[in-house]
Amino acid sequence: MFQRLLDTFRLGRLDRELDEEMRFHIDMRAAAYEREGLSPAEARRKALRRFGSPLLARERVRDVHLLTWLDSVRQDILLGLRLLRRSPALTVAAVLSLGLAIGATTGVFAVGDALMVRPLPVQRPNELLIPQWHSTEWPEIGIWGTSDNDDIWSFSYPMYEQFARTPGVDLAGVQDLDDGITVIRGEAGTAKGSLVTGNFFRVLGVAPAAGRLLVDADNSLAAPPVIVLSHRFWQKAFGSDPGAVGSAMRVNGQIFTIVGVAPTAFFGTLPGRWSDFYLPACWITKLRPEFAAESPLTSDRFWWLQLVARPKPGTSLQALQASLGTQFAGLVKPHITKPKQNATFGLRPGAQGFAFQQQEAFRPVVILMALVALVLMIACSNVANLLLARGAARSKEAAMRLALGAGRLRLVRQHLTESLMLAVMSGAAGYLFARWFAQAILSLAPEKSSLVLDLGFSWRVLGFDLGISVLAGLLVGIAPAITLSRSSVAHALRAGATVRVGWKHRIGLGRPLVAVQIALSLLVLVIAGLFVRSLGNLQAVPLGFNPDGILLFSLDPTAAGYSPDQKAQATDRIANRLAQVPDIRAITWSSFALVDNISWNTRVQVPGDPAKKRPPCNLLCVGPRFHQTLQIPLVAGRFFDERDGPAAPKVAIVNQSFVAKYLRGAVPLGQTFTAEPDRDAVTFEIVGVVRDGKYARIRMPPSPVAYFPDVQHSVPMGPTFALKIAGGPGRVSAEINRIVHELAPTMPVSRVRTYSEQIGQQLAVDRSLSLLSSAFGVVALLLAAIGLYGIVAFAVARRTVEMGVRLALGASRGAVLRLMLLDSAKVIVPGACVGMAAALAATRFVESILYGLKPTDPATIVAAMALLLAVAAIAVYIPARRAAGIDPVESLRCE
């Protein structure tokens, strides 16, 4: 039977067999003519003539097969449609549940695709290469940019200029400028931009949406300052006004003329981050005054430019790599100080730009993907169960068709066609839903590390949607199809034995399906439990300060063009005005807020300490009454006060880890140490010790921290104000905006937030994961419970007579109940065991994002198991009690 289907596809084999068949016929006929006395040649000719054209016969046989196949497919589809229409409730339920699950899976895939897989929207992205280097130890240079496993993508500007002269390659440079401060039509705001070399757009092959893009001549301090906007920013800040091109805007205090707009989908070179504007790289000296001392354009000690290379046609990659590598070796040599140090150069594929730097953001996407895939599998088994239930009702029809000579395979195929149609409908619904789901995921990401992705049409996403739809269709259809093909003709034709045939088989397959559901839902529950517990740990972790009632906001006077003196004055003026606002109880500030993912560290030397390697020390420059306002407890010594003026000896407050790590626990008051908060080494005297707390991230264990008063130093960062307020933050934040706008109109207020909001931002990924996984867990549990209820209720209905007999023969109702419970345990226990094994195997993949517990956390596993068993017990008990409540007389009568 299977052969027949294969024949349909393997026309070659069919032809061979047919040829053999016809040859036999002609040979036989020729032999007959020979026996009549004809010569062999004559006999063969006559036989051939009598047969007619074998070619024509072969064509007609082929037509027969093809037509039959096409015809049966069409029949299957028509029949499928009719059946789906006949039970609209089932169809809607199946399409909805599968559609949601497929949509969620596709949505997560779309995010992952846009983040890591989708090539840059530029010409021939596959040609692009990213130069990188790797060093066993970091050379004595300053680096601006990310690194991963000591792979670094930043180079100095002189290095870029030399590389760019290499024949056979076009080389562009780019560095991202976050928190750019813009003034557009008098309104101050913040935006993310990129500093790019003049050839950036030409090398990538990008055409302007309006005006022109940057050219080589723009990248010169002598040229008029120009800026290109992203299409997105042009829409957001200018309402797509064509008049924007040619007008002026300020970035970090500098005035630039807008010359053009980049195309709609162009976001820059780092997927997930959307550059709002592009500036010629030469302006770095004006935009970041802290770099003015040693120009980044000429310094070979400051490596800050990331490169994108496009080899010219005909250039050998090996030759290019060798040539650039040799140049690199020469340029890096002066900075290598240690004998065993070794720096190597390489080129990596750059079709996705710098997407490889988004690994951190990609991990939660992968975890989410796994979770939605589990939910999809549960949804599939649920729909399969629905179809099985209906298949039971149709088993008589199936048996009839078998008896009338329909092929079993044909029957199976008809069912698969039907479930595939269901799945394709779900896939179409899911595709519409996917976009929405993808946006929802992106909106759950923390604001500061928000992902902005181009979720436009992608063949990969459509293909994925279609692929998993077909897979889901097969998963859903295979069980009912097998059941039907097993239907026994003899049983069906026996009088009275109607639906029972199918039902027997339904039990055979429905039970494993429910066991699978139980296993999958236990897995989802364990993962959800781990995330929930991890989030709980993170929320309960002691911060070392009291964030309650604290409102934060950040200013960046340095970026807005203020000198250090102007910055200090502006900070004081704003603090004094804020002090007059009635709802504000206390005011302080620091170079940045604690627990805001920002860290600033330096090497520290303690006199008398043999110069061994010490971990770097974290620093924080603080305003007046910082520790008191945040309620960081003093352990020894004193807080900063009026004594610590600009001219007084430099003082510092350190935390307990500092004492333990650098001073071996010795009483530190009066002890001095040397650190380099800016360029020069400064000697500090320790005047106080405070309790340990969190510094940059909640997940990091306490580390050494030194606080020093900002009146004694000038640092380019911040300030971030911390206000202790009474009542809600709404009125105070309006006051903040009004006061800052009045005192410093060119300086935007950024990120007004309560401290708990800021901490919440840091836990956003954990919160989204625990929220989503819990929701998935509930759905999974519910579906498994429904499945379980279904099979037990059915078993009760089927065994009514048997139970009646048992009761009539004196079995107690308890015994009957026990029997039913034991029966369902045969489904629950294997399911739970498999689920447990899967959980133990799978949860280590989430280990890296768990905080304060192991992936095999016994409490979580026991709790998940208990929840599952409790819900399962309820799902089983309700129908089982009915079995115990059977009236024996009634039950016997109904047979």
């Binding site: 067999e17 007619g52 027969v64 039959t68 000579g405």
Partner: protein, 110 residues
């Protein structure tokens, strides 16, 4: 559905099914020989049409085939009638009789 078999095709189907029903499984050549000998060579099966017809009937489920060794020790494809084929044969015979009776009556009237 497939194209409605025309009368000639219907007649060919009928002959093949009847042959297989009375003689048991046969290869294509055997079917052709049988039809010729029984009809005293009046009915000559158009041999080129025989094989498309057999394949079509196999797709319809009226006949089934398998490869066996023939009387001359050569591999040949044998066709046998199925239950569905027998039912089809009965239908076609009934139809045929109706048509023949009708024609008979027309001839008698004139």
């Amino acid at each position: 559905m497939l194209k409605r078999p025309d009368n000639l095709q219907g007649a060919l189907d009928l002959l093949i099914l009847k042959t297989l029903a009375s003689r048991g499984p046969l290869h294509g050549y055997g079917i052709a020989l049988h039809v010729e000998s029984v009809s005293d060579d009046v009915l000559r099966v158009e041999e080129g049409s025989l094989y498309p017809a057999l394949h079509r009937m196999e797709q319809e489920g009226w006949v089934q085939s398998n490869w066996r060794t023939s009387e001359h020790n050569r591999r040949a494809k044998f066709y046998g009638i199925t239950a569905a084929g027998s039912k089809q044969l009965a239908d076609q015979v009934r139809n045929w009789r109706l048509v023949v009776d009708a024609i008979q009556r027309v001839l008698q009237v004139s």
